[in-house]
Symmetry: C2
Subunit: 528 residues, 2 copies
């Protein structure tokens, strides 16, 4: 389907054209792209939130089948954008075609997966405790509980996943699945991509006959826009993927509201990889090459990029570092998502290079000027790492730091000193397993996902995935932003006591018209 | 079992006697009770948190059967305190014997119910997505997810439930069930009751051979003690029942930590009752008597006390008010939990009485001086209620306010203007049902539990219960503090990718040694 980008703010079914504007920048060339995009302001925030609040009572009470169909319609609409979308996203993000084609498939399948989840009805958690009128000393009333959508949700598009974690990405899909209308604050780096996807979602809303406020798209470049959305009393939760500073600022806005709301911010992580001795000895060179490939994939612009590798010092680590350095040296320079990200990457790499406690292990191809970023690999000693917090800071991009531990005890110390992370990866052979068994309890306290003999880049969208972790990796370690569990973030339980059957929501009626799995008097019953 | 109260701080298996001390006050007489209780300070906080952190790795990984047995052992230990506990709790709280005997049964059954919940293993949410090595373009790795305990939890004892929501109450039971070691900050109003229960829990920890840090008891009177516990980096969540000011202060401490943690604060509510026209006409007098009984039960010292009744003005409401006023006049004065609560109740009632927009409908027996509180019932117009926020403030105790609405539209306006509440109650007859259907969506957005033709006092501990609601009723509308769902507050998901079976936690191993219900490739499987 061919689709026109006109730079409007999409408030429900309306197009608004406030006066301020900005442009997308072509990532590879630095050229200004057309058209101009309107800057959403206070009046668009107000209008979008009002429409979302108006849509909530209908959208949140849709039967599962109707909401699932909407998600599938949205998936088809996004998929049908096809090459128009891919070409625009390539220009705005600098990401290669194959990556964006894969990301589009993920985005579409994610919406379809949530449609399946919605149909199961398990997320409603319908729970019935029947009345016991004869109970002594007091009778028990009839009590029925279900989950309902929190309310309208604001979603912040992410720079590094212009499709799978932006306008129709994981946060949007899981919030819509829960029954929450969504207002997207579009990312300034890919406004055309965002508008194309937003128009597809809007068509899905319309063709399913849903209230227009189910979805709005507000492009903009200011912090004020994001803050205004999180502060709006009609917004009941926020989903964010981005920097630690940005996430923390939104958490503060949310906590200062008269009625605080949850902010699901996925912020920063260095995703430690622990290389264990037997693995380093047996297949150090092979692991080194895989490490270089993982840290530089997508110019290192993944939340789960391995920014840290910890290993026990000695000849095996030297060999590993030699091979890793050589592999990094072969890596071609890559464009980054934005000028700001490129600049920030270079200053992070320069700070590591200038740190007297850090040595450079490998430097990718390409200069340190121009519009392409070159990969970088550094190493340091455990003592320096422990004493200098700057060495634990995320350098977003294709850079990683190897920390040399003296022995097992120092390895454990280093792990115990880590902040919250999205992932931890263990590279080990059978002989390492006793040490792995000791490290696992330490690691699982600090991360959402523990990997064995793999690489953290590549996040599967499935039921068992946890893309989360303790602060500062995310703002809420009790949840995930990828995978079907993400729907839980946007629900709250409500209990109904002694309500006549005709007044109960369908999910809790005696006849179970939605054919839900339910828990009755503590016993789980399958869907009829 | 007879049991000695000696006023010590119980840090794991140790008894500490820091220098500061305070005394319990007999609620009815105002007399100082013996012995003196030590004030827990910074060094006890440090020691208790260190022990809790040390206990966590063992306690959180116990097999469900072992943790269930511990909860049952704790239930038996608390139950065996018998009359020693009841007599001390009566003296410290002023609550009558029958009420405390009932509360002890609830406390014991609550621990037993959580033992059952732990045994089902459903809370682990074991979820397995098997590997698809042949998948294209990329193979899918083996991914397995389970819930683990957040970490050590601090629980604040509540003044109004010295047993069921204090040392071994709902927060403690659900946190222990999840696998979190618990540090209780004992309430100053019932330190002897608290110590008796704490000693019982300690015996259960010991007799089950668990690490002593699974439970500690820190009595004290200062805000500094509570803040220090919430700020301690080894604490991972807090459970609190009390005032809005107290809850908000702890939320702020938690949000300001380097690593913020969840605070589950159950704070204040006025629990609106909506009296609908046909019910008012058909059985106004009967409902009026039940209202007076509910608002004065336990001297009105329930979180779910009906502090507000909204009805449409007219002769039927006049008749209702006449009957309610008469019923309130017959209510005997009652002791309150503490001098502070009594004083605060009297000042709340005095403010209502002095408000020119408020009329007094009924005044219970007893003077406004001395140590007993008398019930009070007031009425006002909708316009006054909407314009004066002071009329929406909770008066903790046996006082309630009736608001006269002009018509259905004003009734809806009043409901839409309410803050978050624990409960809303609808009193209606069949003819009222169309209006009830319109009000339900408004009410369920503002409350955790909607009741039909009952009274909100009396909270069943069961699977379907929600004792929660939007801020300021609680700090987190996504949860409940009563009922089995409360265990979810203290869990977080962790994912394991490609881990060899022998290194996986038992919950996720191929052989399913804990015989858990699991979700495999999206399909729910019953326990084998």
């Amino acid at each position: 389907m061919s689709e026109h980008i006109n730079g409007a703010v999409l408030v429900g079914a309306q197009e608004c054209r406030p006066s301020g504007s900005f442009h997308a920048i072509e990532a590879v060339s630095g050229q200004v792209m057309q058209p101009a995009f309107c800057e959403a302001g206070a009046s668009e925030v107000d209008a979008a939130c009002a429409l979302a609040a108006a849509a909530y009572p209908v959208f949140s009470e849709l039967a599962p089948e109707a909401r699932a169909k909407f998600l599938e319609t949205a998936a088809t609409a996004v998929e049908s954008l096809g090459d128009t979308l891919i070409v625009r996203a390539m220009a705005e993000s600098g990401l290669p075609r194959a990556r964006l084609e894969g990301e589009l498939v993920r985005t579409v399948r994610q919406l379809q997966l949530f449609a399946q989840v919605v149909r199961t009805g398990e997320w409603i958690d319908a729970t019935i405790d029947t009345a016991q009128p004869q109970r002594t000393p007091l009778p028990r009333p009839d009590l029925r509980r279900r989950n309902v959508a929190l309310g309208p949700v604001v979603v912040f598009g992410a720079s590094n996943f212009p499709l799978a974690f932006s306008v129709a990405g994981g946060d949007t899909a899981s919030a819509l699945a829960a029954g929450c209308p969504v207002v997207v604050k579009g990312h300034r780096a890919h406004p055309g991509t965002g508008e194309l996807v937003a128009r597809a979602l809007r068509r899905a809303v319309e063709s399913c006959g849903l209230p227009p406020g189910v979805f709005s798209y507000l492009p903009g470049t200011t912090h004020a826009l994001g803050s205004a959305l999180v502060a709006d009393p009609r917004i009941h939760a926020a989903g964010f993927t981005g920097s630690r500073g940005g996430g923390k600022a939104l958490m503060d806005v949310a906590a200062a509201r008269p009625e605080p709301i949850p902010v699901y911010a996925e912020m920063s992580a260095i995703n430690p990889v622990i290389l264990l001795p037997a693995a380093a000895r047996a297949r150090g060179a092979e692991l080194a090459r895989a490490y270089a490939a993982s840290l530089s994939m997508g110019a290192g612009q993944f939340c789960t990029n391995p920014g840290l590798l910890i290993a026990i010092d000695g000849p095996d680590l030297e060999n590993f570092l030699g091979a890793a350095g050589a592999a990094v040296q072969a890596i071609a320079p890559q464009p980054m998502l934005t000028d700001g990200i490129l600049k920030s990457y270079r200053s992070g790499v320069a700070a590591l290079a200038a740190n007297p406690a850090v040595t450079r292990v490998g430097q990718g191809q390409g200069a340190t000027e121009g519009r392409l970023a070159s990969a970088a690999l550094f190493a340091t000693q455990a003592a320096a790492f422990k004493s200098d917090p700057a060495l634990s800071a995320e350098v977003f991009g294709a850079s990683s730091l190897v920390v040399r531990a003296r022995d097992d005890a120092e390895l454990e110390q280093l792990i115990s000193g880590l902040e919250g992370q999205l992932t931890a990866t263990l590279l080990f052979d059978a002989k390492d397993e006793p040490l792995v068994a000791r490290l696992l309890p330490l690691l699982q306290r600090r991360v959402g996902r523990v990997l064995a003999n793999g690489w953290p880049t590549g996040v599967e969208v499935c039921h068992a995935m946890v893309h989360g972790g303790p602060f500062p990796a995310t703002s809420d370690t009790r949840t995930t932003s990828v995978g079907t569990l993400a729907i839980q973030r946007f629900l709250r339980p409500v209990c109904y006591q002694s309500l006549p059957d005709s007044l109960l929501p369908p999910a809790l009626r005696a006849a179970n018209p939605w054919k839900l799995p339910r828990r009755v008097d503590g016993v789980r019953q399958s869907a009829p």
